[in-house]
Symmetry: C2
Subunit: 302 residues, 2 copies
């Protein structure tokens, strides 16, 4: 095993989104299967697990059981279980159910914001103010997501200044970390690095995370390039759970297994046990009746 | 579109292996379908196309029609059509059929050499001497492949000094270019870059090519890291043709479409028309009744 070069960090923190971002784009799966997944992810060494979403079940029926998930999950010591909460009602339900932290989301694209949540970027940020205040009052950490940071399905290219502006808004309103989402996976390494560098002028790089989709197969190369900027947190999804809603049959989230394989190869610690992670991914893939979306898992599974 | 940074080249030469390396691991396909593929690859702007292999049909029945392929293919001006020729008989058949250049192959792993071609690395190089001499006599360029440069399915890790030694042997015996194959796709970026740097101490970097498999999803990240060494030639396979013979269901060759997408995103010229390339990959995937192995193709095909 090689040791990491100077340009890469010695450790990276992984934020696992498979059980939420991943499963909300998959067909329905039982609460029991979700609980097994979340437990296996913790057993594999993941310390930050997004476990559900408190949005209206009318919009995302796959997440209707999020309260049950949080109430029933086997809480492991040292693991933070996170919930997506679009509004005050969602926040209250999440906290009642026992979520450790919550997340809110903005877009770097006006068109995407309008089509996805029916309001402008500014209005969406406004709406999160009461969520943020209520969370602060209860001492609950809030994470922020920015979508479309490297392109928008409706607008195409997005100016890095706009990404930096929205990331700064979320950071200044109190998000402890801002995750930069290449929602449609169109970025390439130099563009990705330039975007992160631009955002890092407004938000400390230590407060940024990468959330890159693998729709065009570029996610690992983009992450490799961005690790040079000083970013140390990466979002990914076991088994690549979560297809791309904008291109039928295409991939969405980057598979955590493939990311861990690269990071370990670079000599970067993640705290993750790869064989156990592969087991978690194979179990949920079987439950979903889908081929495992991780190339590493396919290569290492007999 | 971004312009390339100083650390990356302005142009890269692609060597397309789909019609040979790709199809020899797929189930049989008709001669007519292969001819369509080769023609579509040329139409997409690829200038170096491996079109067949003159090995015994007993070992690789999928390549039994290679003479017909070379005789019937629509030769495009400026395109070099290459053939794999393991011995003198193969060379003669390839030249009779009209191949523009030929290729020979060695392994960086003794165990792989023994199991794959039943002889030691040294014996395999010896056997290529008459092929090389006959090719030189006819003024035919010979390319060299080295397999297992980042790991062997039987031995595991391979010393970079051994890769450099075998690459140098092939170069010194007269190969105009040596292609470094991560046959099982196990490499990661820093290891890959160190290996290329070690080989470049023995063979001029301008005479090296990368032939990285995507079995673990690492190929693009590895290529990104290796482009910094000065290497300017990359092998890939349209639609990711060619599964991994060492892990059932796993990927093998890197999809040319995904590579072209990254290179163009980096501002690197390839001369390839991506939509036409995607069409070529979709056509052969349909003929094979398999899902296109390129993520870019899946994302961009309606």
């Amino acid at each position: 095993m090689s040791t990491s070069l100077g340009r890469y960090p010695s450790k990276v923190s992984l934020f696992e989104v498979g059980a939420r971002d991943g499963l909300q784009n998959e067909r329905a799966v039982t609460t029991a299967d979700k609980l097994i997944l979340i437990d296996q992810l913790g057993m594999a060494g993941l310390k930050r697990i997004e476990a559900g979403s408190f949005v209206s079940p009318k919009w995302v029926p796959q997440m209707a059981d999020s309260a049950d998930i949080f109430k029933q999950l086997n809480k492991r010591s040292g693991v933070v279980y996170s919930a997506l909460t679009p509004n005050l009602k969602g926040l209250e339900l999440a906290l009642d159910a026992g979520a450790d932290e919550v997340a809110i989301f903005g877009a770097a694209s006006q068109s995407f914001s309008q089509r996805n949540i029916n309001c402008s970027i500014e209005e969406s940020i406004e709406r999160f103010i009461p969520v943020m205040e209520a969370a602060k009052a209860k001492n609950i950490a809030v994470r922020g997501y920015v979508s479309c940071v490297l392109g928008c399905p409706y607008e195409g290219d997005i100016a890095v200044s706009e990404v930096a502006r929205v990331a700064e808004l979320l950071y200044k309103m109190g998000c402890y970390e801002v995750s930069l989402g290449d929602t449609i996976g169109v970025g390439t390494p130099v563009n990705a690095r330039k975007m992160v560098e631009a955002v890092a002028e407004k938000v400390p790089v230590g407060k940024l995370a990468l959330h890159f989709h693998d729709t065009y197969g570029q996610a690992l190369a983009n992450i490799l390039a961005c690790l040079e900027t000083g970013v140390r947190v990466i979002d990914s999804s076991v088994a690549g759970l979560g297809g791309c809603p904008y291109a039928k049959g295409a991939s969405g989230n980057l598979a955590t297994e493939d990311l861990v394989y690269m990071l370990h190869g670079l000599g970067i610690e993640t705290g993750v046990d790869l064989p156990r992670l592969i087991e978690a991914g194979n179990t949920i893939s079987q439950a979903l009746g889908r081929k495992n979306g991780s190339k590493v898992a396919l290569a290492l599974t007999e």
